[in-house]
Symmetry: C2
């Protein structure tokens, strides 16, 4: 049961080459009025300034895998991002943050995605509210084994905004403006939530649940196939058993051998080649959400 | 007057994060038969192995700006890529290469582009031949002030294949296969050229000539605007005086103030933010090419 949200942390640049979030946070730091609401304090942060300067995802290791409680407590983890994670974690605690937004972008065609690590009632109501305003929004439930390593997992109510497709180190104006609008709608929601002024509504919320990741076919570690052209950019679209999945460098098609229709996301995300992830498979779910 | 082409150098990975060329060259190194033609010797090279390993454009400086003759001769230029350029230059000379292909990719929506530093008759005939087979091909004449710094400028008959849009460190199967096909068609052309077997044809060749680059609006070095959504991905399409060019982070539109219609390319190329280039403006040209 969530009573009141009053301290919100808004992070951009958790990955230094995902610059939609970087430039949005820079804008908010310059114009703090834009984030002001009657009963909220919103703190904009650039998470990994060193990586931003280098225009790289990270300096030494992926910051967004450094927040597992055991790693935060371990004084022997001393890579740059491991130290930075401890610092960010402390900042979140000291500021008594009770809601966290982490801004990301992807080379996959995921449009406007809100990623949740769980499907608690508060998150589902929030997702319903936002997607009723902006029907393009997709809700992705991604409770991976590594979920407690993520920045958003520092507190109970942490979400990720994931927008794409946009190349690394590129700004897409349309996605920039749509992300900005989602942030404003989200803050409006939290303001009204605190005032008990959310309009009562019911909504059949569709969301997608990651249950598996698939790697590229490889030989001795190196990939030997690419995402099949029929699947490229088809995030959230149905993939049926027997549909093309990959095409090898020699032109041979590899089909999906599962036994049920699935909905892939993060298809061909640049940063996931090194994470052995060509895509994540999801199942489509529905939840009847009543909220006020 | 070109008499005979017999030694061809095919480079991929001149920029380490443009992996279409990297994986194509790896494929050719593994399967040299694919490049074999009766009267040609084709040498596939990975240009910047260190940058490829790091998944970065370059290690210390842009390799594709290191080939100016005065820099190649200067023993005081000792950045990694400056040294590498000298090495590559020597390799080209020792192998007596007389045709060079450099494989690149771009985050701009440039489809299949052949970039030429000049419009000599040989290049125009080649461009005509290839674009008659594959009408998607665009011919770009880019004779920048820096043109002699490029890998392709090492020899008289050097061309760049530039394909996009594709994010850095991502493989797009469709562009991969189309690039491969262009290479085969090109080798077939050169083989027939040596045999005097090119069919006589006439063709009104359209090409685009870069005459100017435009930077992002900036304040104290940092950008304050993005490519306008109306212009995003519209490479090679007409931009008229008064058309939207940029949109600032505050939502203000900045229009094109030129006095004639132009055709922008390299719109929103990730690597060009640091080169103060938001796009290159071209004029559309036509040339009546008769060849055999």
């Amino acid at each position: 049961m969530v009573n009141k949200i009053d301290k919100i942390a808004l992070f951009g640049g958790t990955h230094g080459n995902e610059i939609t979030g970087v430039y949005l946070v820079k804008k908010f730091i310059k114009n703090p009025d834009l984030l002001q609401r009657s009963n909220l304090k919103v703190l904009p942060f650039l998470a990994n300034l060193q990586a931003i300067k280098l225009q790289q995802r990270y300096v030494e290791t992926d910051l967004n895998r450094c927040f597992a409680p055991e790693d935060l407590e371990n004084l022997d983890t001393i890579l740059y991002e491991q130290l930075l994670a401890k610092n960010i974690h402390k900042k979140i605690q000291e500021n008594q943050v009770n809601f966290l937004i982490d801004l990301h972008s992807t080379t996959a065609n995921m449009g406007l995605t809100i990623i949740l690590s769980d499907t608690n009632q508060f998150h589902l109501e929030l997702g319903s509210y936002l997607s009723l305003i902006e029907p393009e929004i997709k809700i992705l439930h991604y409770a991976s084994a590594q979920k407690n390593q993520l920045l958003r997992s520092n507190i109970k109510l942490g979400i990720t905004l994931e927008v794409g497709s946009v190349p690394q180190n590129v700004l897409n104006a349309d996605l920039f403006m749509k992300t900005e609008k989602i942030i404003y709608n989200l803050l409006d929601y939290l303001e009204k939530f605190n005032q008990n002024k959310i309009e009562k509504k019911s909504h059949n919320l569709v969301f997608y649940e990651v249950f598996k990741t698939i790697d590229y076919p490889r030989e001795e570690g190196d990939i030997i196939a690419m995402i099949h052209p029929n699947l490229q950019s088809k995030d959230y679209e149905p993939l049926h058993p027997g549909d093309p999945l990959f095409i090898t460098f020699d032109g041979e098609t590899i089909n999906y051998e599962g036994n049920a229709t699935v909905y892939p996301v993060f298809i061909n995300e640049a940063a996931y080649y090194e994470k052995s992830t060509a895509m994540c498979l999801t199942r489509k779910r529905e939840s009847y959400v009543t909220f006020n």
